[in-house]
């Protein structure tokens, strides 16, 4: 026994790092369900009680879980289902149907999916027979025939619930909620959505059949808890093979989270959004810099990751433009200042640019009109300028009205960072009117 243990601790640094990466990556990317979710105990209890009533007592229920993206709706549902299915009686008795608004884009597909997941008799091989109406009546009859005492309860989970509300006549929602209202087969309808106004999307008849039970996941976390969560998310579990490495790692993570600069970075992230997904993205970026030669996360890694996460994409794109394109953007900036945000066309921009060239051409040569037009079209391709009336309007390219999709401060900032920007172009950009 002791021999085996000593063997375990003799892992090389490379293997340890590899194992740590594996565990943490699975946590960040694959969204594995944690054994004990924190901060949502009351919601969890609420949902579990509700589902248990359906599963064991045969009550029909409907509930909506509402919360912003990345607030752990799916995680809550999964952990509750996991706990529910540990009961043996439930395991053998309850049927589960998962639907997703992204996948089941209309009722017909959704219905096929339900029949498939319930493994009903008319499914032969992998094909579902019958038309939509037939399918619906078959399914409804199958569900209606049952009663509270004898039939198996079904739990429907509808991910992206708001998308189901866009279906024609909301037939699926109506029928599901209708069954949950009347004393037929016990069903529980659990909807997950990120829209707070989801009830306004429902038709009146559908809305009246919904139980108006909502569970909100609003993430009432403060910064101190945020730091603690971060530390927890970075730590290695107890059952890590190499104990020494795990201890070192965890203590280094503790040190990291107390570091002042790391706290600043996390504060910045906390102020932009509290959801875990953006935190996971940051942590993954930091984690990807961990190698056998650099076996722990350092404050510098977190800072670098945060810099990468919060880069201004438009500024990056502006940095890559040629000097001619940059000049056109400055001309557009002047035009929108001059005419108060009115749209403009290529001729006006070119005119503005020509004025600059004529007055003070030192570094920029006089380009032919087609060359300038090509630069203008490139800007349009990058969607830095958007046409006002659709791309297919039948008018010459020169006269199509466009709008600049950039802020003035963005332009000025990009100009400061532009490599080897000629001084007169900079001056032209700062001068008020052309």
């Amino acid at each position: 026994m002791s021999k085996r243990k000593s063997k375990d601790t003799q892992w090389t640094a490379g293997e340890c790092v590899s194992q740590a990466q594996k565990i943490l990556r699975e946590r960040y990317c694959y969204q594995r369900v944690p054994s004990s979710p924190v901060g949502i105990e009351s919601q969890r209890k609420n949902l579990l009680e509700l589902l248990r009533r359906t599963a064991i007592h045969g009550e029909s229920n409907s509930v909506l879980i509402v919360g912003p993206r990345g607030s752990g709706k799916t995680m809550l549902l999964k952990s509750v289902l996991k706990e529910l299915f540990e009961v043996r009686e439930v395991q053998s008795n309850v049927l589960l149907v998962h639907l997703n608004g992204l996948l089941q884009t209309d009722d017909k597909i959704a219905l096929k999916e339900i029949t498939r997941q319930l493994q009903l008799e008319n499914v032969v091989g992998d094909k579902v027979f019958g038309s939509f109406a037939e399918n619906l009546t078959f399914l409804l009859e199958a569900l209606k025939k049952g009663n509270r005492s004898s039939s198996r309860p079904v739990i429907f989970t509808l991910d992206e619930f708001d998308l189901f509300a866009h279906h024609k006549n909301q037939t699926l929602l109506y029928n599901l909620l209708d069954i949950s209202q009347s004393a037929q087969t016990p069903v529980a309808v659990v909807g997950l959505t990120c829209r707070l106004d989801v009830l306004e999307l429902l038709e009146k008849r559908v809305k009246s059949r919904f139980s108006h039970r909502q569970i909100h996941l609003l993430n009432p976390m403060d910064f101190h808890q945020y730091i603690e969560t971060t530390q927890e998310h970075l730590g290695l579990p107890q059952d890590f093979p190499d104990e020494r490495f795990a201890q070192e790692w965890n203590s280094s993570i503790k040190m990291l989270c107390e570091d002042r600069s790391v706290k600043d970075v996390l504060r910045k992230h906390f102020n932009t959004s509290k959801d875990f997904r953006s935190l996971h993205m940051l942590l993954l970026m930091a984690l990807s810099r961990v190698t056998p030669t650099n076996p722990t996360i350092k404050p510098g890694d977190i800072q670098e990751a945060s810099r990468l996460c919060s880069m201004d994409a438009k500024a990056n794109i502006l940095h890559g433009l040629s000097i001619l394109e940059l000049c056109l953007i400055i001309a557009m900036k002047h035009l929108s200042e001059l005419y108060d945000g009115e749209p403009f066309n290529f001729q006006m921009v070119h005119n503005e640019f020509k004025k600059f060239i004529q007055r003070k051409s030192h570094s920029i040569h006089n380009f032919e009109t087609p060359v300038v037009l090509k630069a203008f079209e490139h800007l349009q391709q990058l969607e830095l300028i958007n046409p006002m009336d659709g791309p297919s309007a039948k008018i010459q390219k020169e006269y199509q009205l466009v709008k600049l999709m950039l802020d003035h401060s963005q332009i000025m900032e990009a100009l400061q960072k532009y490599p080897q920007c000629p001084t007169d172009v900079k001056q032209w950009a700062t001068s008020a009117f052309g």
Binding site: V17, Q21, M281, L308, M311, A313, N316, V371, K394, I395
Partner: protein, 443 residues
């Protein structure tokens, strides 16, 4: 060679090979590889790579995936006109292609179901990668496709990563109700020095490398302020190199005689900017001309063929349409009525609209006004026959005029004239009409 490209789980030799193939992009390749992690580790569900055209986005990604032999599929979204084609390509190359049978117009639901099914038979030992090139096209396909692909890892419960490549920033992709946020990675543009380094790699075997570097310097001097696109620059470099070498071949100059070489090539490159760069002259024509050593002006570009032969009345109709589009309606009396009484010029010319008409573009005009101007500018008496009206509609089909507002086709249609000033002047010259005298902007 910087030793940045290092990752556990891959052999040293392979990594060295990759880093040789991605000049000036080692940092990006290393960052990407670090995100990928070891082959059997999970990677982030979706990665969004953006940067300008020809900045090595797909080159780096593909080189990594191919050289390190990761299971991957590359799909160009432009090719996939329907989602079905996209699904078929993905499933066909990730799994054994014989097992894939999709229905005729599959939905995302079918795709996910089939993926799970195939995945259960052939589960992933290594991360699978789906690379979607030109991802901006995905936005125009059905609304659930992009959010679906972004969270594909969660939907199919497989170790799969979707990589999106695009020129356009992520902000323009985000659906209104939000979606799973991908990890964004930026490929910055090549600096001038990096461009030089990359372009200098494909030097000509019969000349020294220094000479080619010198040539590239000249080329960048002319084109860099207009174009940073590596592909375009490389094309131009290959095209104009024979001209650069001409004095050397003739024996008029030595390799060290840089000033003379520069004097020889610079005007030539400036000409190339107006011709080959704009695709006025095709590369083939350009090469032919270099061989024949002809004068560069002799070559007519595509835009020189803009002249169109039209019937007599069509010409006048077009002239009338141009006048109606670019003159304000209240000046018609002054131009086209013989005894228009006195209109004072001061009230007539307002400063702010003096030259603005050719800046703002054509204005729409009703059919009546077009005909009125037409009768006034054409000398002889013309009956309003069917052929006149059919000529108007055929001008519309030739896209010399466009109809605005499609609500009433017969009753009172409105038109716009969509030809340039040069074009209309050429037309007016053929019928002996001085158009500038009638244009308000040029008074």
């Amino acid at each position: 060679m910087p030793a940045e490209l290092r990752q556990q789980g891959y052999s040293e030799a392979q990594l060295r090979l990759v880093s040789e193939k991605v000049p000036c992009r080692e940092a990006q390749a290393a960052a990407l590889l670090a995100l990928f992690g070891e082959p059997d580790h999970y990677s982030f569900p979706s990665i969004f790579i953006y940067g300008h055209r020809a900045m090595g986005k797909s080159h780096v990604t593909l080189t990594l995936l191919r050289e390190l032999q990761m299971p991957h599929v590359v799909v160009s979204c432009v090719e996939c006109v329907s989602p079905g084609l996209l699904f078929e390509q993905v499933l066909g190359s990730l799994f054994d292609s014989s097992a894939v049978t999709l229905s005729r117009s599959p939905s995302l639901s079918d795709f996910v179901r089939l993926y799970r099914q195939l995945c259960a038979e052939d589960s992933a030992k290594h991360t699978r990668y789906i690379v979607l090139d030109r991802a901006e096209v995905l936005r125009d396909m059905s609304a659930n496709l992009l959010p679906g692909f972004l969270r594909l890892q969660e939907l199919v419960e497989d170790n799969v990563t979707v990589i999106l490549l695009s020129e356009i920033v992520w902000d323009k992709f985000r659906p209104s109700t939000g979606c799973f946020e991908p990890l964004q990675l930026h490929f910055p543009d090549y600096s001038k020095a990096e461009l030089q380094q990359i372009l200098a790699q494909d030097s000509h075997p019969s000349y020294s490398a220094e000479l080619y570097t010198f040539y590239i310097n000249i080329l960048l001097g002319v084109f860099y302020s207009v174009c940073k696109d590596l592909r375009e620059l490389r094309h131009l470099a290959a095209l104009n190199f024979p001209k650069f070498c001409e004095p050397l071949e003739k024996g008029e100059a030595e390799e060290s005689d840089t000033h003379k070489l520069w004097r020889n090539i610079e005007p030539h490159l400036k000409k190339a900017m107006q011709t080959v760069y704009l695709r006025e002259v095709s590369s083939f024509q350009w090469e032919e001309q270099l061989k024949q050593d002809g004068e560069t002006q002799s070559l007519r570009g595509l835009s020189a063929y803009a002249h169109v032969e039209l019937p007599y009345y069509s010409k006048f109709l077009l002239i009338a349409a141009y006048l109606a589009s670019y003159n304000p309606a209240r000046t018609d009396r002054r131009f086209f009525v013989k005894h228009h009484g006195k209109i004072r010029k001061t009230t007539f010319l307002k400063k702010h609209e003096k030259t603005s008409n050719h800046l703002l573009g054509p204005k729409p005009f009703p059919l009546d006004r077009l005909l009125a101007i037409f009768y006034s500018v054409v000398d002889s008496r013309v009956a309003p026959t069917a052929s006149i009206f059919s000529q108007i509609s055929s001008l519309v089909t030739l896209q010399l005029l466009t109809q605005v507002g499609h609500d009433d086709q017969l009753d009172n249609p409105k038109y716009k004239c969509t030809v340039s000033l040069d074009f209309i002047r050429a037309i007016a010259r053929t019928v002996g009409f001085d158009i500038l005298r009638y244009l308000y902007d040029f008074l």
